[in-house]
């Protein structure tokens, strides 16, 4: 009796162990199920590189190039801001800050990671958007730049905590060796610690960027939502994620528009899968 019970429990454990694989596959299958139907109507190339997104005009034009460029622009801006600041902060926390301050800083970073994105979006609307508008004398502050700044903040916790981990796990004797040769602390950090932690730092940056590409609410609230090919960072843009979030509510189940939004979901899924798998490879290399 006890044997059977244990047998059942152990099988149940195995099934749950496999659950995450099951769910990843399930997510992908259901995106494909709803999204691939689009390609009977619009060719994949025309979908990816089509220059106009007018899903409710007649006939609908379903080219997502403006959305891809919008996502890229916002992500690029966020990366430029968040990578140097994030890595700098990670070095400061890992190497320079005294123990007590270190704990406070880490708690602050965790706090930032915990703030819901819709709250950050709201704060962006009331503080950042008017600021950008006034500084650059624009008709509206809802621009790619505002989105980049906000997203940079959302990428920061990921970049800082993973990069700090990477720096922390550099063997102590590397550092001691550099000190023994008369190097200053900064020289040690720059020439020894950073190169030794490089694969972890690369992973940190990639995961940070992955977070930025997938972020939805804040970016939808403050980038202005104009589905046109952006001509400057001070223009309103619309990202892939924001398009899904903003339009799915109105799309009729089974319509071309509905299929197209799922097809965008496939694109996002593939991008995030590629980024996460590669970052994991970099993290794994370190161990």
């Amino acid at each position: 009796m006890r044997k059977t019970k244990e047998f059942i429990i152990e099988k149940l454990i195995l099934v749950c162990g496999l659950a995450s694989i099951f769910f990843v596959v399930l997510i992908f299958l259901f995106l494909l199920k709803e999204g691939l139907a689009l390609f009977n109507i619009v060719g994949p190339l025309k979908f990816l590189f089509g220059k106009s997104w007018y899903p409710i005009s007649e006939p609908p034009q379903l080219g997502i190039l403006p959305l891809i460029l919008g996502s890229l622009l916002v992500t690029f801006g966020a990366a430029i801001i968040s990578i140097p600041i994030g890595i700098g902060c990670a070095i400061y926390i890992a190497e320079i800050a005294p123990l007590k301050i270190k704990e406070v800083l880490k708690a602050g970073i965790e706090l930032l990671a915990a703030i819901p994105s819709v709250v950050l979006g709201f704060i962006g609307i009331v503080t950042l958007v008017p600021l950008v508008k006034n500084v650059f004398h624009l008709p509206t502050g809802l621009t790619a730049l505002s989105g980049s700044i906000m997203l940079a903040f959302m990428a920061m916790p990921t970049i800082v905590s993973i990069a700090e981990d990477a720096l922390y796990s550099v063997p102590k004797n590397y550092k001691e060796g550099a000190f023994a040769l008369g190097a200053t602390h900064w020289q040690t950090i720059w020439r020894v610690m950073l190169p030794a932690a490089s694969s972890g730092i690369v992973a940190a940056v990639m995961l940070g960027i992955g977070r930025v590409i997938g972020e939805t609410m804040a970016v939808m609230m403050i980038t202005g939502n104009a589905a046109v090919i952006p001509n400057s960072i001070l223009a309103p843009v619309r990202t892939l994620t924001a398009t899904i979030a903003a339009e799915m509510g109105e799309a009729v189940v089974g319509s071309e528009h509905y299929f197209a939004l799922f097809a965008i979901g496939i694109v996002l899924f593939v991008i995030s899968f590629a980024i996460n798998a590669t970052a994991d490879l970099f993290l794994h290399k370190r161990q």
Partner: protein
């Protein structure tokens, strides 16, 4: 020649500046929300339904909706996540399957939240015909927080010393009994931490509930798990972008309640982790 000590001074100042650039805005954000949100706080705001097209009244249905969603998500994710962690920590061997599971967890954690929303719509709302309901939303959120629960529970289980297991097994106790009576009890604080972090995440997410449960304006409480419901994060989105002329006080008040809820859960998680570290006997 450049003076290495001066270079160091400049470099360290820059690093300090970078740190300030992150930490100071975080502080400012929290202070702004508390300062402007507190005047809105009243018993009526917390317990009344929204009135006059959400321009007056309270946010009670949104708070209740979020509590339902979070409870549903954890009821689904905790058993699966915990057993998955037991598998990874106690049963799996270092083989290709283990690598695959790890990769799947990493990717599950990285899937954009709006893609979870699409998935929930396709599977629960349309395919299983649950409709836009608390059930669909909870299941979607549950799958989303699964990686958090698996990862933290696994860490908690793995931090139980190997010798505990060996002693138990050497007394003739079976493997499952060892896990059930020795390993799990010692890992509870860590598992609890992960669960609460998962709760906080589920409470704050908006994109996964957009098309699976969230109601734009529903001034009543849901009767069953097949009903739509309001939710705090979606409500904040609605009143700050979709409805014009909402009193600023109500917006900040809603943001404060949501932020307080999420931070409160994180605080509990941090306290448990801290006390556990102190009490740890090994």
């Amino acid at each position: 020649m450049r003076n290495p000590h001066r270079t160091q001074k400049i470099a360290f100042s820059l690093l300090f500046l970078a740190t300030l650039l992150i930490v100071v805005p975080v502080g400012i954000i929290v202070v702004i929300i508390i300062q402007k949100g507190l005047p809105a706080m009243s018993w009526q705001f917390l317990t009344d339904i929204p009135r006059q097209g959400m321009r007056a009244g309270g946010i009670f249905p949104a708070i209740v909706g979020t509590l339902y969603l979070v409870t549903g998500a954890i009821l689904f994710a905790l058993p699966i996540g915990l057993l998955a962690a037991v598998y990874l920590s106690e049963y799996s061997k270092d083989n290709i399957l283990n690598r695959l599971i790890r990769l799947a967890i990493v990717n599950l954690a990285g899937v954009p939240s709006v893609v979870y929303g699409l998935f929930g719509l396709a599977l629960f709302v349309v395919f299983f015909k649950f409709g836009a309901s608390i059930l669909s939303g909870s299941l979607t959120l549950g799958i989303m927080i699964l990686p958090i629960i698996i990862t933290t529970s696994r860490e908690a289980l793995e931090s139980v010393p190997q010798s505990f297991r060996e002693v138990s097994l050497s007394l003739g106790v079976s493997k499952w009994q060892t896990i059930r009576h020795i390993v799990l009890p010692n890992a509870i604080p860590g598992i609890l931490t992960g669960t609460i972090l998962g709760l906080g995440r589920a409470a704050g997410e908006t994109a996964p509930i957009l098309f699976t449960v969230a109601a734009f304006y529903l001034p009543q409480l849901p009767d069953s798990i097949f009903d739509q419901a309001m939710a705090l994060p979606y409500h904040l989105y609605v009143i700050s972008t979709q409805v014009p002329n909402v009193d600023e006080k109500i917006r900040y008040g809603t943001a404060l309640v949501l932020l307080a809820m999420v931070l409160f859960m994180n605080l509990i998680a941090i306290i448990i982790r801290y006390r556990f570290r102190k009490l740890k006997k090994w």
